[in-house]
Amino acid sequence: MAAETLHYAVVGQSKSRSFPEDDPFLGGAGPTAEADILIILGGGFGAGPTAIPDDAALYRAVLVELGTECLSYHTGADGGPGNLLGFARYRIGELAPSPLVELVRGPGADDGAVATAEALFGAHGFVVAVCSDQAGRIVDRLVRPKYNSALRFLDEGLATQEAMDLTCRLGLGYPEGPIERVRRSGIEDHYRVSLALFEVYGTPAYTPAAGAVMAARRREHGL
């Protein structure tokens, strides 16, 4: 049986971390009147909670782009209507977005809406990982403590940056070592994400490492 063609519309802020302006996914969007799925771009605390459209129930799924915030920031603690989901295409700093879409289901999420959203992103070549509505979702929750540890190890003289990055590439098969990855992507961005997670979890693992704090402070002065 041929896969169902899902129509989608995109609304919201033009600046999206998931889909930069020239992203081919945006080119496939159509008018809201014909859409099965409504995608609301934006994300982050900056613009305030997203206004959920009055006609949200008309769509099989409404997908709200997330930054470091949880879906509940937009919906309230009850998670909103069952067809409302969060999503974020994983992207570290200003590096190009990855193929990963983290699809966030709130407490009352409808399985049909989740399956529809998975099918849409899957049809466009994305890798979808469904997760619950927790800070950092999957990847940032796991990788930010590792980056903070690596930065602290560097400060403490455990090894040189080259040794640490080489060890991770050769010993663990990573495409890039943790220090080179976090520096290439913008250490101040790591600071921003770590701090957001620390606000929620309050554990030392998310405390931004000194190198990230200093870089962020320098950035405040344009350095």
Binding site: Y90, V130, I138, T160, A163, L166, L172, G173, P175, T203
Partner: protein, 292 residues
Amino acid sequence: MSGIETVGVAGAGGTMGIGIAIVMARAGFATLAFDRSAAALERAIGQATVFLAKSVERGKLTREAADAIGGRITPVTDVAALKDCDLVIEAVFEDLETKKSLFAAIDGLCSPHAILASNTSTLSITEIAAASRRPERVVGLHFCLPAQLMRLVEVSPGLMTSEETFARAWAFMERCGQIPVKTQDKPGFILNALLVPFNNDAIRAVEAGVAQPAAIDRAVKAGLGYKMGPLELVDLVGLDTQLRLCEAFYPITLDPRASAPPLLRRMVAAGLLGRKSGRGFFDYAGETIYGG
């Protein structure tokens, strides 16, 4: 120059030990593979033979070269056989007292110039060295599993290790075709200090209901470009091994991320050890997901 010609591997009856022995023998060194257990040693030598035969099948080695490498590995069950070694690498299991007692024994046998090395992944080189009367000639050489395939070696000086010993060990690793990296003598060195807590965090994410194991691994691979997800890696190394690493690591570091997650303990208690038992976070019979 390392000045090392004859080497010994203590604990060669284990997977890591025999892998290290293959590395040495492949580089042309006469290698004594020591283990007190004749049965374990026989099994390990069998594994080495299979590995070398597969290397020939895959065109990585000629039959003659494989035979020569195998011929350089001499199995021994008496520790006294290590007395003429210039370097002995210990690869017994991660227990400080066991390692200290072995170091004390080897120290009494080998000539003063010999270097004693530990393949420990979590314990202190300085503490292990203290069991010998030559702490200046003790160094950490931590290989990655499987040692015969992975080129990285973490080389760690203890507090008393001399610069000459470190330099000789480093040069020897290069002669063996390995890629050494220098780390301080700190728990887990680089590799395990980053990996053990990261794997625990992934297990805790399962516990916390963040996502199913398959989704977590899929996200880490697609988002970060890693070859393996943390949970399939834990399944590969064994949940019991991850638990042992936590138990070695946490009391020294008191890092909460290094403590064993309750789910890990429960799964080990239930015999869900990963690939070796057929089921861990994933089921290797039907490739279905544990808890899914």
